[in-house]
Symmetry: C2
Amino acid sequence: MTLILHECPPSGNSYKVRLTAAHLGVELERRPYDVSRGESRTPEFLESVSPHGKLPVLEDNGRMLAESNAICLYLAEGSDLIPADRFNRAEMLHWMFWEQTDHEPNIAVLRLWLTIVGIETLNGHQREEIAIKRKAGNEALGLMDRHLAGREWMVADALSLADICLFAYTHLADEGGFDLELYPNIVAWMERIMLLPRHEPMFAAPKLALVS
Amino acid sequence: MTLILHECPPSGNSYKVRLTAAHLGVELERRPYDVSRGESRTPEFLESVSPHGKLPVLEDNGRMLAESNAICLYLAEGSDLIPADRFNRAEMLHWMFWEQTDHEPNIAVLRLWLTIVGIETLNGHQREEIAIKRKAGNEALGLMDRHLAGREWMVADALSLADICLFAYTHLADEGGFDLELYPNIVAWMERIMLLPRHEPMFAAPKLALVS
Protein backbone atom coordinates (compact mmCIF):
# COMPACT_ATOMS: atom_id res chain seq x y z
CA MET A 1 0.00 0.00 0.00
CA THR A 2 1.57 3.28 -1.10
CA LEU A 3 0.23 6.32 0.70
CA ILE A 4 0.58 9.56 -1.24
CA LEU A 5 0.45 12.91 0.49
CA HIS A 6 -0.67 15.75 -1.74
CA GLU A 7 0.69 18.68 0.20
CA CYS A 8 1.84 22.23 0.49
CA PRO A 9 5.26 21.74 2.16
CA PRO A 10 5.36 25.03 4.15
CA SER A 11 1.82 24.53 5.50
CA GLY A 12 1.43 23.49 9.13
CA ASN A 13 -1.62 21.44 8.15
CA SER A 14 0.53 19.38 5.78
CA TYR A 15 3.35 19.15 8.36
CA LYS A 16 0.92 17.65 10.94
CA VAL A 17 0.37 14.70 8.66
CA ARG A 18 4.10 14.18 8.01
CA LEU A 19 4.81 14.41 11.75
CA THR A 20 2.08 11.87 12.53
CA ALA A 21 3.50 9.54 9.89
CA ALA A 22 7.02 9.99 11.32
CA HIS A 23 5.83 8.96 14.79
CA LEU A 24 4.03 5.97 13.31
CA GLY A 25 6.96 4.92 11.12
CA VAL A 26 4.71 5.14 8.07
CA GLU A 27 6.20 6.16 4.75
CA LEU A 28 4.46 8.79 2.65
CA GLU A 29 5.18 9.61 -0.97
CA ARG A 30 5.11 13.39 -1.10
CA ARG A 31 3.48 15.34 -3.94
CA PRO A 32 4.13 19.05 -3.45
CA TYR A 33 1.89 21.80 -4.85
CA ASP A 34 2.56 25.52 -5.02
CA VAL A 35 -0.59 27.02 -3.54
CA SER A 36 0.60 30.57 -4.32
CA ARG A 37 0.31 29.63 -8.00
CA GLY A 38 -3.20 28.25 -7.49
CA GLU A 39 -2.10 24.66 -8.04
CA SER A 40 -4.76 23.34 -5.62
CA ARG A 41 -7.54 25.17 -7.47
CA THR A 42 -7.03 23.96 -11.01
CA PRO A 43 -9.93 22.11 -12.65
CA GLU A 44 -7.76 18.99 -12.72
CA PHE A 45 -7.02 19.18 -8.98
CA LEU A 46 -10.68 19.78 -8.12
CA GLU A 47 -11.70 16.86 -10.33
CA SER A 48 -9.03 14.29 -9.52
CA VAL A 49 -7.66 15.17 -6.06
CA SER A 50 -10.26 17.06 -4.01
CA PRO A 51 -13.31 19.22 -4.75
CA HIS A 52 -12.42 21.27 -1.66
CA GLY A 53 -9.38 22.74 -3.41
CA LYS A 54 -7.34 22.55 -0.22
CA LEU A 55 -4.27 20.69 0.97
CA PRO A 56 -3.25 18.29 2.44
CA VAL A 57 -5.04 15.36 0.79
CA LEU A 58 -4.07 11.77 1.51
CA GLU A 59 -4.36 9.30 -1.36
CA ASP A 60 -4.75 5.69 -0.31
CA ASN A 61 -5.20 3.22 -3.16
CA GLY A 62 -6.87 5.86 -5.31
CA ARG A 63 -9.20 7.08 -2.57
CA MET A 64 -8.78 10.68 -1.47
CA LEU A 65 -9.10 12.03 2.06
CA ALA A 66 -8.99 15.75 2.88
CA GLU A 67 -8.80 17.72 6.17
CA SER A 68 -5.48 17.41 8.00
CA ASN A 69 -6.87 16.29 11.34
CA ALA A 70 -9.06 13.62 9.75
CA ILE A 71 -5.98 12.33 7.89
CA CYS A 72 -3.98 12.18 11.15
CA LEU A 73 -6.81 10.22 12.82
CA TYR A 74 -6.97 7.86 9.84
CA LEU A 75 -3.23 7.16 9.89
CA ALA A 76 -3.03 6.77 13.67
CA GLU A 77 -6.00 4.45 14.19
CA GLY A 78 -5.04 1.64 16.54
CA SER A 79 -1.73 3.25 17.51
CA ASP A 80 -0.66 4.71 20.85
CA LEU A 81 -1.03 8.23 19.43
CA ILE A 82 -4.74 7.79 20.27
CA PRO A 83 -5.51 7.28 23.98
CA ALA A 84 -7.03 3.94 24.90
CA ASP A 85 -9.35 5.48 27.49
CA ARG A 86 -12.68 6.65 26.03
CA PHE A 87 -12.82 9.99 27.84
CA ASN A 88 -9.18 10.77 27.09
CA ARG A 89 -9.83 9.95 23.46
CA ALA A 90 -12.70 12.43 23.44
CA GLU A 91 -10.48 15.04 25.10
CA MET A 92 -7.95 14.55 22.30
CA LEU A 93 -10.68 15.09 19.70
CA HIS A 94 -11.82 18.18 21.59
CA TRP A 95 -8.34 19.73 21.26
CA MET A 96 -8.17 18.77 17.59
CA PHE A 97 -11.49 20.51 16.85
CA TRP A 98 -10.43 23.46 19.00
CA GLU A 99 -7.20 23.71 16.99
CA GLN A 100 -9.21 24.15 13.82
CA THR A 101 -11.78 26.59 15.27
CA ASP A 102 -9.85 28.80 17.72
CA HIS A 103 -6.13 28.32 17.06
CA GLU A 104 -5.47 27.86 13.33
CA PRO A 105 -7.79 30.65 12.04
CA ASN A 106 -5.82 33.17 14.13
CA ILE A 107 -2.28 31.87 14.52
CA ALA A 108 -1.83 30.18 11.14
CA VAL A 109 -3.59 32.93 9.22
CA LEU A 110 -1.42 35.68 10.75
CA ARG A 111 1.67 33.64 9.85
CA LEU A 112 0.36 33.31 6.30
CA TRP A 113 -0.39 37.00 6.03
CA LEU A 114 2.74 38.38 7.69
CA THR A 115 5.43 35.90 6.62
CA ILE A 116 4.23 34.19 3.46
CA VAL A 117 2.03 36.54 1.42
CA GLY A 118 3.29 39.74 3.08
CA ILE A 119 1.41 42.60 4.74
CA GLU A 120 1.72 44.80 1.65
CA THR A 121 -0.51 42.46 -0.34
CA LEU A 122 -3.34 42.47 2.24
CA ASN A 123 -6.47 44.46 1.58
CA GLY A 124 -7.87 46.98 4.07
CA HIS A 125 -10.31 44.51 5.55
CA GLN A 126 -7.53 42.01 6.21
CA ARG A 127 -5.32 44.69 7.76
CA GLU A 128 -8.13 45.54 10.19
CA GLU A 129 -8.41 41.84 10.94
CA ILE A 130 -4.81 41.62 12.16
CA ALA A 131 -5.59 43.10 15.59
CA ILE A 132 -8.65 40.87 15.98
CA LYS A 133 -6.64 37.75 15.14
CA ARG A 134 -3.75 38.90 17.32
CA LYS A 135 -6.07 39.12 20.34
CA ALA A 136 -7.83 35.83 19.64
CA GLY A 137 -4.52 34.07 18.91
CA ASN A 138 -3.04 35.26 22.20
CA GLU A 139 -6.16 34.08 24.02
CA ALA A 140 -5.73 30.64 22.41
CA LEU A 141 -2.05 30.49 23.37
CA GLY A 142 -2.89 31.65 26.91
CA LEU A 143 -5.46 28.91 27.25
CA MET A 144 -2.97 26.27 26.04
CA ASP A 145 -0.31 27.63 28.38
CA ARG A 146 -2.60 27.44 31.42
CA HIS A 147 -3.71 23.95 30.40
CA LEU A 148 -0.07 22.82 30.15
CA ALA A 149 0.86 24.12 33.62
CA GLY A 150 1.99 21.05 35.54
CA ARG A 151 1.31 18.76 32.59
CA GLU A 152 3.65 17.14 30.09
CA TRP A 153 1.17 16.52 27.29
CA MET A 154 -2.15 18.00 26.19
CA VAL A 155 -4.15 14.88 27.10
CA ALA A 156 -3.53 12.49 29.99
CA ASP A 157 0.14 11.49 30.38
CA ALA A 158 1.30 10.60 26.89
CA LEU A 159 1.93 12.11 23.48
CA SER A 160 -1.23 12.02 21.35
CA LEU A 161 -2.50 13.53 18.12
CA ALA A 162 -3.62 16.55 20.17
CA ASP A 163 0.04 17.40 20.76
CA ILE A 164 1.09 16.77 17.17
CA CYS A 165 -1.78 18.74 15.64
CA LEU A 166 -1.31 21.69 18.01
CA PHE A 167 2.48 21.67 17.67
CA ALA A 168 2.33 22.29 13.93
CA TYR A 169 1.16 25.91 13.97
CA THR A 170 2.15 26.70 17.57
CA HIS A 171 5.84 26.21 16.76
CA LEU A 172 5.42 28.64 13.85
CA ALA A 173 3.53 31.26 15.87
CA ASP A 174 6.55 33.60 15.96
CA GLU A 175 6.24 33.88 12.17
CA GLY A 176 2.78 35.37 12.82
CA GLY A 177 4.24 37.88 15.24
CA PHE A 178 3.34 36.05 18.46
CA ASP A 179 5.84 36.14 21.31
CA LEU A 180 6.05 32.57 22.58
CA GLU A 181 8.34 33.61 25.43
CA LEU A 182 5.15 34.85 27.12
CA TYR A 183 4.02 31.22 27.31
CA PRO A 184 6.69 29.25 29.19
CA ASN A 185 4.60 26.09 29.55
CA ILE A 186 4.13 26.01 25.78
CA VAL A 187 7.87 26.48 25.22
CA ALA A 188 8.67 23.59 27.59
CA TRP A 189 6.04 21.39 25.87
CA MET A 190 7.47 22.20 22.41
CA GLU A 191 10.94 21.26 23.65
CA ARG A 192 9.59 17.92 24.92
CA ILE A 193 8.08 17.25 21.50
CA MET A 194 11.23 18.24 19.61
CA LEU A 195 13.32 15.87 21.76
CA LEU A 196 11.19 12.81 20.98
CA PRO A 197 13.25 10.18 19.12
CA ARG A 198 10.94 10.08 16.11
CA HIS A 199 10.39 13.82 15.87
CA GLU A 200 10.94 15.29 12.45
CA PRO A 201 11.35 19.01 11.87
CA MET A 202 9.16 20.77 9.35
CA PHE A 203 11.77 21.08 6.64
CA ALA A 204 13.65 17.81 7.12
CA ALA A 205 14.65 15.80 4.11
CA PRO A 206 12.31 12.82 3.68
CA LYS A 207 13.64 9.78 5.48
CA LEU A 208 12.93 6.11 5.10
CA ALA A 209 10.20 4.54 7.15
CA LEU A 210 11.24 2.97 10.43
CA VAL A 211 9.86 -0.41 11.38
CA SER A 212 7.93 0.04 14.62
CA MET B 1 -24.75 7.68 34.73
CA THR B 2 -26.42 11.07 34.31
CA LEU B 3 -25.16 13.03 31.37
CA ILE B 4 -25.62 16.79 31.67
CA LEU B 5 -25.58 19.02 28.61
CA HIS B 6 -24.57 22.59 29.37
CA GLU B 7 -26.00 24.32 26.35
CA CYS B 8 -27.27 27.34 24.51
CA PRO B 9 -30.65 26.05 23.27
CA PRO B 10 -30.86 28.12 20.02
CA SER B 11 -27.28 27.18 19.00
CA GLY B 12 -26.83 24.66 16.22
CA ASN B 13 -23.73 23.36 17.97
CA SER B 14 -25.83 22.47 21.02
CA TYR B 15 -28.61 21.04 18.82
CA LYS B 16 -26.13 18.65 17.16
CA VAL B 17 -25.50 17.02 20.51
CA ARG B 18 -29.21 16.73 21.35
CA LEU B 19 -29.90 15.25 17.91
CA THR B 20 -27.09 12.72 18.30
CA ALA B 21 -28.46 11.74 21.72
CA ALA B 22 -31.98 11.41 20.26
CA HIS B 23 -30.73 8.99 17.59
CA LEU B 24 -28.84 7.01 20.24
CA GLY B 25 -31.76 6.94 22.68
CA VAL B 26 -29.53 8.58 25.30
CA GLU B 27 -31.09 10.91 27.84
CA LEU B 28 -29.44 14.26 28.56
CA GLU B 29 -30.21 16.57 31.44
CA ARG B 30 -30.28 20.01 29.88
CA ARG B 31 -28.72 23.08 31.56
CA PRO B 32 -29.50 26.15 29.46
CA TYR B 33 -27.37 29.31 29.49
CA ASP B 34 -28.15 32.72 28.02
CA VAL B 35 -25.04 33.50 26.00
CA SER B 36 -26.35 36.98 25.14
CA ARG B 37 -26.05 37.78 28.85
CA GLY B 38 -22.50 36.43 29.00
CA GLU B 39 -23.47 33.41 31.07
CA SER B 40 -20.77 31.24 29.46
CA ARG B 41 -18.05 33.79 30.28
CA THR B 42 -18.55 34.26 34.01
CA PRO B 43 -15.60 33.43 36.29
CA GLU B 44 -17.68 30.59 37.74
CA PHE B 45 -18.38 29.08 34.30
CA LEU B 46 -14.73 29.35 33.23
CA GLU B 47 -13.64 27.74 36.49
CA SER B 48 -16.22 24.99 36.92
CA VAL B 49 -17.60 24.21 33.45
CA SER B 50 -15.05 25.08 30.75
CA PRO B 51 -12.08 27.45 30.44
CA HIS B 52 -13.02 27.88 26.76
CA GLY B 53 -16.12 29.88 27.70
CA LYS B 54 -18.12 28.24 24.94
CA LEU B 55 -21.12 25.93 24.73
CA PRO B 56 -22.06 23.12 24.49
CA VAL B 57 -20.17 21.27 27.23
CA LEU B 58 -21.03 17.70 28.18
CA GLU B 59 -20.67 16.77 31.85
CA ASP B 60 -20.15 13.07 32.51
CA ASN B 61 -19.64 12.14 36.14
CA GLY B 62 -18.09 15.50 36.88
CA ARG B 63 -15.75 15.46 33.87
CA MET B 64 -16.30 18.20 31.31
CA LEU B 65 -16.00 17.85 27.53
CA ALA B 66 -16.22 20.81 25.15
CA GLU B 67 -16.44 21.11 21.32
CA SER B 68 -19.74 19.94 19.86
CA ASN B 69 -18.29 17.50 17.34
CA ALA B 70 -16.02 15.88 19.94
CA ILE B 71 -19.08 15.44 22.19
CA CYS B 72 -21.05 13.80 19.35
CA LEU B 73 -18.14 11.40 18.71
CA TYR B 74 -17.93 10.59 22.42
CA LEU B 75 -21.64 9.84 22.71
CA ALA B 76 -21.80 7.82 19.50
CA GLU B 77 -18.75 5.59 20.02
CA GLY B 78 -19.60 2.02 19.16
CA SER B 79 -22.96 2.93 17.60
CA ASP B 80 -24.06 2.72 13.98
CA LEU B 81 -23.80 6.51 13.69
CA ILE B 82 -20.08 5.86 13.09
CA PRO B 83 -19.27 3.79 10.00
CA ALA B 84 -17.64 0.42 10.63
CA ASP B 85 -15.34 0.74 7.61
CA ARG B 86 -12.08 2.53 8.38
CA PHE B 87 -12.01 4.74 5.29
CA ASN B 88 -15.69 5.65 5.65
CA ARG B 89 -15.05 6.55 9.27
CA ALA B 90 -12.25 8.87 8.15
CA GLU B 91 -14.55 10.41 5.53
CA MET B 92 -17.07 11.12 8.27
CA LEU B 93 -14.38 12.84 10.34
CA HIS B 94 -13.35 14.80 7.27
CA TRP B 95 -16.86 16.22 6.90
CA MET B 96 -17.03 17.00 10.62
CA PHE B 97 -13.78 18.99 10.50
CA TRP B 98 -14.93 20.65 7.28
CA GLU B 99 -18.17 21.64 8.99
CA GLN B 100 -16.19 23.52 11.62
CA THR B 101 -13.71 25.14 9.23
CA ASP B 102 -15.68 25.96 6.06
CA HIS B 103 -19.39 25.73 6.90
CA GLU B 104 -20.05 26.93 10.46
CA PRO B 105 -17.84 30.08 10.37
CA ASN B 106 -19.87 31.34 7.40
CA ILE B 107 -23.37 29.90 7.65
CA ALA B 108 -23.78 29.85 11.43
CA VAL B 109 -22.12 33.23 11.91
CA LEU B 110 -24.38 34.95 9.35
CA ARG B 111 -27.41 33.42 11.08
CA LEU B 112 -26.11 34.75 14.40
CA TRP B 113 -25.48 38.20 13.00
CA LEU B 114 -28.63 38.60 10.92
CA THR B 115 -31.25 36.76 12.99
CA ILE B 116 -30.02 36.67 16.58
CA VAL B 117 -27.92 39.74 17.33
CA GLY B 118 -29.28 41.86 14.46
CA ILE B 119 -27.47 43.72 11.69
CA GLU B 120 -27.86 47.07 13.49
CA THR B 121 -25.58 45.91 16.28
CA LEU B 122 -22.74 44.87 13.94
CA ASN B 123 -19.66 47.04 13.62
CA GLY B 124 -18.33 48.23 10.26
CA HIS B 125 -15.81 45.45 10.00
CA GLN B 126 -18.50 42.83 10.56
CA ARG B 127 -20.77 44.47 7.99
CA GLU B 128 -17.98 44.25 5.43
CA GLU B 129 -17.57 40.61 6.40
CA ILE B 130 -21.15 39.76 5.42
CA ALA B 131 -20.39 39.61 1.69
CA ILE B 132 -17.27 37.51 2.29
CA LYS B 133 -19.18 35.03 4.45
CA ARG B 134 -22.09 35.01 1.99
CA LYS B 135 -19.77 33.95 -0.82
CA ALA B 136 -17.91 31.36 1.25
CA GLY B 137 -21.17 30.00 2.70
CA ASN B 138 -22.65 29.56 -0.76
CA GLU B 139 -19.47 27.80 -1.88
CA ALA B 140 -19.82 25.42 1.08
CA LEU B 141 -23.49 24.75 0.31
CA GLY B 142 -22.66 24.24 -3.37
CA LEU B 143 -19.99 21.72 -2.49
CA MET B 144 -22.41 19.80 -0.24
CA ASP B 145 -25.09 19.91 -2.91
CA ARG B 146 -22.77 18.47 -5.57
CA HIS B 147 -21.58 15.82 -3.12
CA LEU B 148 -25.15 14.80 -2.37
CA ALA B 149 -26.11 14.41 -6.05
CA GLY B 150 -27.14 10.77 -6.41
CA ARG B 151 -26.40 10.03 -2.76
CA GLU B 152 -28.71 9.62 0.21
CA TRP B 153 -26.22 10.39 3.00
CA MET B 154 -22.96 12.30 3.30
CA VAL B 155 -20.86 9.16 3.84
CA ALA B 156 -21.38 5.73 2.30
CA ASP B 157 -25.00 4.57 2.43
CA ALA B 158 -26.17 5.26 5.96
CA LEU B 159 -26.86 8.10 8.36
CA SER B 160 -23.71 9.06 10.30
CA LEU B 161 -22.52 11.88 12.51
CA ALA B 162 -21.49 13.71 9.32
CA ASP B 163 -25.18 14.10 8.46
CA ILE B 164 -26.24 15.09 11.97
CA CYS B 165 -23.44 17.61 12.43
CA LEU B 166 -23.98 19.20 9.02
CA PHE B 167 -27.77 19.20 9.35
CA ALA B 168 -27.66 21.43 12.45
CA TYR B 169 -26.62 24.69 10.79
CA THR B 170 -27.61 23.78 7.23
CA HIS B 171 -31.29 23.58 8.19
CA LEU B 172 -30.97 27.06 9.72
CA ALA B 173 -29.15 28.57 6.73
CA ASP B 174 -32.24 30.52 5.64
CA GLU B 175 -31.96 32.47 8.92
CA GLY B 176 -28.55 33.62 7.65
CA GLY B 177 -30.06 34.76 4.36
CA PHE B 178 -29.08 31.73 2.30
CA ASP B 179 -31.56 30.45 -0.29
CA LEU B 180 -31.64 26.69 0.16
CA GLU B 181 -33.93 26.29 -2.85
CA LEU B 182 -30.78 26.76 -4.92
CA TYR B 183 -29.53 23.46 -3.50
CA PRO B 184 -32.12 20.78 -4.28
CA ASN B 185 -29.93 17.85 -3.24
CA ILE B 186 -29.49 19.45 0.18
CA VAL B 187 -33.24 20.00 0.49
CA ALA B 188 -33.95 16.33 -0.34
CA TRP B 189 -31.27 15.22 2.15
CA MET B 190 -32.73 17.43 4.90
CA GLU B 191 -36.16 15.91 4.24
CA ARG B 192 -34.70 12.41 4.57
CA ILE B 193 -33.19 13.37 7.91
CA MET B 194 -36.39 14.98 9.19
CA LEU B 195 -38.38 11.84 8.33
CA LEU B 196 -36.17 9.51 10.38
CA PRO B 197 -38.15 7.92 13.22
CA ARG B 198 -35.86 9.24 15.94
CA HIS B 199 -35.44 12.71 14.50
CA GLU B 200 -36.07 15.53 16.93
CA PRO B 201 -36.61 19.10 15.80
CA MET B 202 -34.49 21.86 17.27
CA PHE B 203 -37.13 23.26 19.57
CA ALA B 204 -38.87 20.05 20.62
CA ALA B 205 -39.80 19.56 24.25
CA PRO B 206 -37.38 17.17 25.95
CA LYS B 207 -38.58 13.61 25.71
CA LEU B 208 -37.78 10.49 27.67
CA ALA B 209 -34.97 8.27 26.49
CA LEU B 210 -35.93 5.36 24.28
CA VAL B 211 -34.43 1.99 24.91
CA SER B 212 -32.48 1.04 21.80
